[in-house]
Homo-oligomer: 474 residues x 2
Amino acid sequence: MALPDLRVDLINAQYELQSAGFPVILLIGADDRLAADKLIDTLNEWMDARYIDTRWFGPRRPEERAYPPFWRYWRELPAAGRIGLFAGAWATNPVGERIFGRLGAADFQRRLEHIRQLEKTLADDGTLLLKFWLHLPPDEQRQRARAAHKNKNKYWKFDEEDRKAYQILDRVLPLCRQLIRATDTDSCPWRLVQTSDPRQANLTIATTLLRSLRQRLEPVADKPVSPASRPAAGDGKKPLQAVDLNARLDYDTYKTKLVKQQRKIHRRTAKAARHGLCSVLVFEGWDAAGKGGAIRRLTRAMSARHYRVIPIAAPSDEELAHHYLWRFWRQLPQAGSLTIFDRSWYGRVLVERVEGLADESAWRRAYREINDFEAQLVESGINVQKFWLHIDADEQLRRFQAREQTLYKKYKITTDDYRNRDKWEQYMRAVNEMVERTSTTAAPWHLIPANDKRFARVRVARIVSRGLKRQLDR
Amino acid sequence: MALPDLRVDLINAQYELQSAGFPVILLIGADDRLAADKLIDTLNEWMDARYIDTRWFGPRRPEERAYPPFWRYWRELPAAGRIGLFAGAWATNPVGERIFGRLGAADFQRRLEHIRQLEKTLADDGTLLLKFWLHLPPDEQRQRARAAHKNKNKYWKFDEEDRKAYQILDRVLPLCRQLIRATDTDSCPWRLVQTSDPRQANLTIATTLLRSLRQRLEPVADKPVSPASRPAAGDGKKPLQAVDLNARLDYDTYKTKLVKQQRKIHRRTAKAARHGLCSVLVFEGWDAAGKGGAIRRLTRAMSARHYRVIPIAAPSDEELAHHYLWRFWRQLPQAGSLTIFDRSWYGRVLVERVEGLADESAWRRAYREINDFEAQLVESGINVQKFWLHIDADEQLRRFQAREQTLYKKYKITTDDYRNRDKWEQYMRAVNEMVERTSTTAAPWHLIPANDKRFARVRVARIVSRGLKRQLDR
């Protein structure tokens, strides 16, 4: 295809993409740095740069190292309708960290597994992910390095960093090969492009991009229906049935025990803050189960400097234009702080499942996605604790009615709340399955009997306080 | 007012606020840390916490220190309809930095001036800014510190940091007084609240907040019309008239000179990146003046690792819900990188002025706001360079027509472009006034004759290359 035609077609495809409702990521890995630079420049020139988010992810900056490795990618994921041109990123970052000793051999393998998981997560969510690896054979790299050394005038773009990159090429290439093999999956295959002729390489990539865009933009006649998944077999005792809802505390015991835990929490959050340690506390539970009250008993013990409460409501337009985990990645705690999620990413397998807002294949794969997400948090040193506040249907009704009697609590209750009660059984099933599938060693669920608010608050406070201690003792 | 009533009224006011289209900031300064903590907790309890953005801004974190001091506040400004509860922030940060020697006496004064400017900017834009200072008299602070020392059990919230804060109280208070005096303006006055009785203090603040919210939420009968501003007197030679549009370069000279500058730019951006230095380049100009081409001649010389081009289009909904400078603060370069704005914050005094999208008082005060914004960038070490690419109306017409002949450039031209030509004279006036009012010593405008693209590109490249050198030589 002639270049002017290709450019017109690419730009038109970009415009169609805007209304098509999915994001595109072009991941560029390279052992040829110069070619990668040239490619980025060229794509921005050939296409309408206003709809391309070009991001070069080099070595992680100090402030990025305070977060899990994939945090920076999640923050920058393109919205539906846009193209993210990601250079380096997870295609080369693990190699760099491995070479410079920041990543052990086992960690490297674990990182590769997280990459597979990330790419699957994005692809499952509808992202068109295209991966290109720009390769210049070692002997040509040698020739170029020599030529650049002799003729600095002609090769003025070949700079000190390119020289350094060439010097470690022998060590880099085997790791690149390993990464490419490990992440070359059916749904997200690598496309190797030789860069001996850079212009030809760019044309190849642009043409492939155009073809892939067109394929995805064409209306699909009939989408294959995902196979109906069987209900989980074996209906033994479900997690929620094991919760003893009769647990109670009298007022004096409650006061004494609560203050005791609050003091510990105060001391430990302050210490964690000094040591730059992070926590993520997740609160889920029935409407009116007392999440807010339990959270406030925690935050009253902490200094406002050290925590942040994130109430999770229905997603905004911007959030809907991204993967559902995107907004939680953006809210991860900064070094030394504690984030409390009042409702969380588990909405996917609870309200979105029961209300039919996510289709079955979407919420089914969410278990795995969530487990991987939380594993990354824990691996990067974050203390993750998850609470389900459990009450029974009668207690909930009593509380709804009491709220309607209290002026300043009326706003907490809507007709939706009553409607949700009709689906109690469906929610029970969803919660049980959630607990079974996402109670991992790293981040187990704590099921809190909450028919008695005092008991629940003390129980939560004690678990939080112990979690902080474990983190500080590590 | 009884507390339950106050809570109901506050929550109702919050709901009205959501549709009212302005943001609220509650700035909390304090010499009484415990009271500030308690206040934040209480307000979150009394109101609907889902619509409050609580932010505790303590000492700047390392990654925040890489940006101008006010960067972190701009990022977190509440959107229209929300309440930002800002603790510490610019109310106490300058005091802390002064005490710990990060800020000299003159810098402290300059910071106070920037605070006045920031608050005026926010208030002018419609933000309801309420400032409360929580004060506990020194003798009561002494009593409390002693009591806490004796009875650690009762005063378990009084911790190590509170002790430290008490120890430097004598040095802190005079600086606080200075800050309060300097930033106690008619439009944004400080409200001092004594915290001897913390509960009473919280009630006072909540009541004041409610009253202020109500005042603003009530429909205003007739808004006073801002006095019509006189046209700038003295119609001497205007900046644009001084531009020699006949400047030209032949192809060979162009090629030689351009490559020479590009090499320098390549070397200098790489060096700046190594040293963590930042640049902001601003490109404005007539439609079809060649901004894109000039920018590409720069970026081709740089590594994609080191720069980012931000094309500025019409603001998104989220951006419209904030002050117009908000989105530019968010885009400031990270340490060691260079950001090119293809159009910029000058839209306020150009297109928004001419097309009537901003009313006169809004674009008139924008000159001062922009000058302060850029002064902050320069003070924090950022190399700021601004370019106006100038062509005449005939040359523009020729280029529009040529674009229509080139397939892949057609998308760049719309009927709007032709319509804008009718307002050439109005734009001329707007540009001239912009150049006159925002050409500061720190960030002067460069007017580039661009009837000849080659000449313009080389001129721009040379100015950029020199700017980088000046920055590196500092």
